[in-house]
Amino acid sequence: MQVFLQTFVNAISVSLIYILFALGLTLLLGVFSTFVFCHGELFMLATFVTYFIYGQWDLPYYLAFPAAVASAVFVGLVIEKGIFYPMRDRHHLDPALASFGVLIIMQTGALVLWGGMPKGVPPVVKGQIDLGGVIFPLERLPIIIGGLVMLIFLIFFVQRTKLGLAIRAVQQDPEAATLQGMNIPFLRIVTWIIAMSLVAVAGVLMAPVIFIDPFIGDSLIIKGFTVVIVGGLGSVFGATIGGFALGFLDSFGMTYLGTYSYMFAFSIIILVLLLRPQGIIGRL
């Protein structure tokens, strides 16, 4: 029982990590109807910015947020203007492949610039709470709070604002949206800015909890794709459900099944794509 409760507490924070990472991905997938492989590398960039600002230069932690967001948005806009926008009329696999090229470039670039040694960022919040035998490390608190705040912000943005409505319209039918007079290039840029800000904030929040190296994007992007595929195309609500499903499966699998749980993400992707390609709550 003790183990079960402990796993349950861990599963919640793991789920929020996955959700934080996947929120930007699901927006991008919805608007561009392709998979953006370099999403994990932007996360890596944000964690490295945090490492330098907070860990190396001893600046206040909160300064990492604007710096990481600015650098991620900059890279995102370069990708949009340099690769995705010129390829807008091509087969939808072309930008996906190009984003894989960006993944390779960014990963190797980070490896050459900053080395492959795992780096640690000192924790921002120290200590832990003992909830009757179940230990909850306080350093995970910012992730949980930040994750919930971002989730609420994104749901509010997508469901309640005019810009969010426009983005949902573009997700459903880009041509009909153009005919309604929507400025597609502008909306694409807005999508990139929001997605990049989300992933940058996720990176800054998670930097103190994980070890930072150029390859952290690799495992996260697979988790992100799993969450997005389970949730369905471009659905924020679906991504939330998918994140919790994967987080709980991962944590409990790790506790009770050991290394076999490594393949949960892949098996889930295969099963969902084979049985229900539109996602668990999605419509086709």
């Binding site: 939808h92 696999l93 190009a98 090229g101 390779i104 190797t108 050459v112 595929i229 290394t259």
Partner: protein
Amino acid sequence: MIKLLKNRQCFRVFVIILISVLPIFVKSPLYLHLLCFVFIRIMLAIGMYSMWTVGYLNAAQPAFWGIGAYTSALLMLHAGVPLFLTLPVSGIVSAFVAVILGYPGLRVKGAYFLILGIAFNELVRWIFVVFKSVFGGASGLTNIPQPDPIRILNITMDFTASFVPFYYLSLILCLITTFVYFRIHWSRLGYVWSSIRQNEDLIAATGISVFREKEICFATCCFFAGVSGAVYASFISAISPEMFTFVEGIYLFLAVLLGGIETPMGPIIGVLFITALDQLLRGFREFEPLIWGTILVLSLLFMPKGLISMPKMILKTEK
């Protein structure tokens, strides 16, 4: 002579003769090894090209390659089956797995199939790692035997002594693959495949079962991947799951993309180009992925039809 070479048929025969007598001039085992590897990779790349013509990127190609390699290696190690029998068997096993995966899998859209392929590839690799008693775990299978010597006329082909017999074996298999794909390309099947990529709904409306065509394409692609895996296993005599990562598949597709995606000639040129470049870049191991990534992005942006279209493009601009 030049007049003869201008004839396409004669030119092809000339090239094939040239490749077949190459081992007489190339004595260095390094280059023979490299050329065998080129032939094996062409068999894989041409399959990926054919999947691309129906609008899919088969990222699971290394997995099917691995399935072929493991099938052949296990048969040779435990049952003592000769390589010439395991070649078709491993091809059929790969194609069988492909048909099963494709039955539900080929109904999803292209981008999703890419992710499905990556997931399937990693799952297969994980199966190779976890079932240690059968597949040898992370260190894989070693001591995979070479085929017995063959005597043709007066020449004995000893597979253990030099790379020359493997050169001819992989060359013959590669030529068969290329021949099959060229025949398909200029047949009804090829026309249907390339039109699926352009407009799937229209093809479905003319009464062609798009799904069946895709399934045939996928099975063919994976059959040759399996055969190529069988040669590969015997050729390098030790295989491990690390060789079959999906990134390998992406690099293979980079070759296809570079060569050109219009005819089966593209992947061949692409693989040759990539291998040559790989040899040139041997001094910069650290920066190598950087260069591949840049090539991938730039070729997608500025050269979507590949190297094979370059002469045409230059000629057109000169006019």
